[in-house]
């Protein structure tokens, strides 16, 4: 963890899929310990932005700097960068052929080079913290969606990332399972984890975010503290979006 540089600095980021320009000049700074929530309708570019930050998608133009290191520079070792940035996916993406414990220890063992015993001790500690210790030898198929997503979060945390990206992590869950996952994220925020969260859970965003960014058509149209964003949005598009959310009963 370093000093003055922001945890994440994004400058004029562009990304297209074929003729479709999904990100049209994103500028974003995230300070250490900050929790930034990305809101916006489907297709506004939230997921793509997160995938670009983790270099899962190559970018077309712009710069991404993590703690002073430009990760989009030519010739950087993407594997070294990815171990510093954790990501949790909407569809969990656990490895179905591995037990929970093996899912969590794969990265620490193969990437960080920990021995099996140490990796398992650390993983067990994390699993215990999130109430998953009894499930450590189960295969993912046996877990509920909420449990699977918590395992996915633990898997990302096991790499001790400087920055955690969460991509609509509750969107694939049954409503009654959403809370257990959100509570995990709340705890991470309370412990100072730097996070960028794409979410449709506006109530959650309002509670947890240090800052909310509204993405519209591949640009950050408006950003600010949650209280301001949700009660007095400046932009007409933001207002329309929030109105739709309220109409759908999600705020």
């Amino acid at each position: 963890m370093s000093d003055l540089a922001p945890a994440l600095h994004i400058e004029d980021l562009h990304k297209s899929f074929g003729a479709l320009e999904v990100l049209r000049g994103i500028d974003l700074d995230v300070a250490e310990h900050e929790v930034v929530c990305l809101i916006g309708s489907s297709g506004s570019g939230k997921s793509t932005l997160l995938r670009c930050i983790n270099l899962l998608e190559p970018i077309d133009a712009g710069r991404i700097v993590v703690e002073g290191d430009e990760i989009t520079a030519k010739g950087v070792d993407v594997n070294r960068i990815r171990r510093r940035i954790g990501i949790v996916f909407q569809a969990f993406n656990l490895f179905p052929h591995m037990s929970v414990l093996d899912n969590v220890t794969l990265g620490p063992r193969k990437v960080l080079g920990l021995g099996r015993a140490e990796a398992e001790a650390r993983a067990t500690e994390l699993l215990e913290r999130f109430g998953l210790a009894p499930k450590r030898n189960d295969y993912p198929d046996r877990l509920s969606g909420g449990q699977q997503q918590r395992v996915a979060i633990v898997r990302a945390l096991a790499m001790q990332p400087d920055l955690l990206l969460l991509d609509e992590v509750t969107s694939a869950l049954d409503p009654e399972l959403v809370a257990e996952v959100l509570n995990v994220i709340r705890e991470l925020a309370a412990n100072g984890m730097t996070m960028v969260i794409a979410t449709h859970e506006m109530g959650f965003a309002r509670d947890i975010a240090s800052r909310v960014c509204f993405l519209d058509a591949g640009q950050i149209l408006e950003e600010g503290p949650p209280a301001e964003m949700f009660s007095a949005p400046r932009e007409e598009r933001t207002r329309q979006f929030l109105q739709r959310v309220i109409d759908a009963g999600r705020l």
Partner: protein
């Protein structure tokens, strides 16, 4: 596939494929109905096979055919020699299968390497697979078995077993690489994304995440190719290697009788069927383990 032929429920179809696996009947058949179905199946089986037996044994030349194909005395006499010669086939397909499984996987991975740098590698692997799937195996065996020792290069083996095995490896690794490739492509890309997001390199993602899942999915088609390989070991007889088929031909010529060839057919059947059931068991066990959890 339903043995009883009665009211088929899907659970029975799945259960039959792996008799030791978990049965997943969704609809229970009442006991009376099940018994009735079994009886009907039994009676119709007896009738059908009885009719076939009557027709065949009443054919005008049946006694001659029985004498030249199903001769008990010749069968008993040739069986030990055939079984002994079958050892060569077993050695051939075991030795070849190990290399085929390894080479096929390497080929499949090479064909999937991304980026323009690896274009020549992809091209070579593709040409290899196309070539050895196109040329009939018996020709590969012929050309390698006679051609390469014929060159007379010092140090190149002229062993028939060696060139027979090499030919089978070349042909079958091309098929098997396609099976692996289908398996690898069937693993959803999000699995690779998850692996790479942890910082695993592309090769590590393949090794620990993609390939293990791919291999589990393609075990049945791999076994299919393995059975094909077992049978194709008899093709090596064309370059003169004394294995079961060549031994059978020798016995056939000596006795002026085809019974040894029928015996060979039986030996292959006896070897293949348990293997097929074993694979079903493996697949069922794997499925059971992932669903039931608590493997360790």
């Amino acid at each position: 596939m339903s043995l009883t032929g009665g009211p088929v429920d899907t659970g029975e179809l799945i259960g039959f494929a792996g008799s030791s696996g978990p049965r997943r009947s969704r609809r229970r058949v009442p006991p009376g109905e099940a018994l009735r179905s079994s009886l009907i199946a039994l009676v119709s089986t007896i009738v059908v096979f009885g009719l076939i037996a009557v027709v065949v044994t009443n054919a005008p030349n049946w006694p001659d055919v029985q004498h030249s194909f199903f001769n008990g005395e010749i069968f008993a006499r040739s069986l030990p020699k055939l079984v002994e010669a079958f050892g060569t086939n077993i050695a051939l397909f075991m030795f070849a299968e190990i290399l085929i499984l390894a080479l096929g996987l390497v080929l499949a991975i090479l064909r999937g390497l991304p980026g323009p740098v690896f274009f020549p590698v992809r091209l070579l692997a593709t040409v290899y697979v196309d070539l050895f799937r196109a040329v009939p195996g018996i020709l590969v065996i012929y050309l390698l078995g006679f051609g390469i020792p014929g060159l007379g290069i010092a140090g190149v083996p002229d062993d028939l077993f060696f060139w027979g095995a090499v030919s089978l490896v070349l042909v079958y690794s091309a098929y098997v690489s396609e099976v692996y490739r289908a398996g690898i492509e069937s693993v959803h890309w999000s699995q690779e994304a998850a692996a790479r997001s942890l910082g695993l390199s592309r090769l590590q993602a393949l090794r620990y995440v993609i390939v293990p899942q791919a291999v589990r999915r393609v075990i049945p088609p791999l076994l299919n190719d393995f059975i094909g390989l077992q049978k194709d070991t008899v093709l090596v007889s064309v370059i003169g290697l004394v294995e079961i088929f060549r031994e059978g031909q020798i016995l056939k010529s000596a006795a002026f009788n085809f019974t040894p060839l029928v015996a060979i057919a039986l030996i292959f059947v006896v070897v293949t069927i348990p293997l097929a059931r074993f694979t079903d068991w493996l697949v069922a066990r794997e499925r059971g383990r992932q669903v039931a959890g608590g493997g360790r």
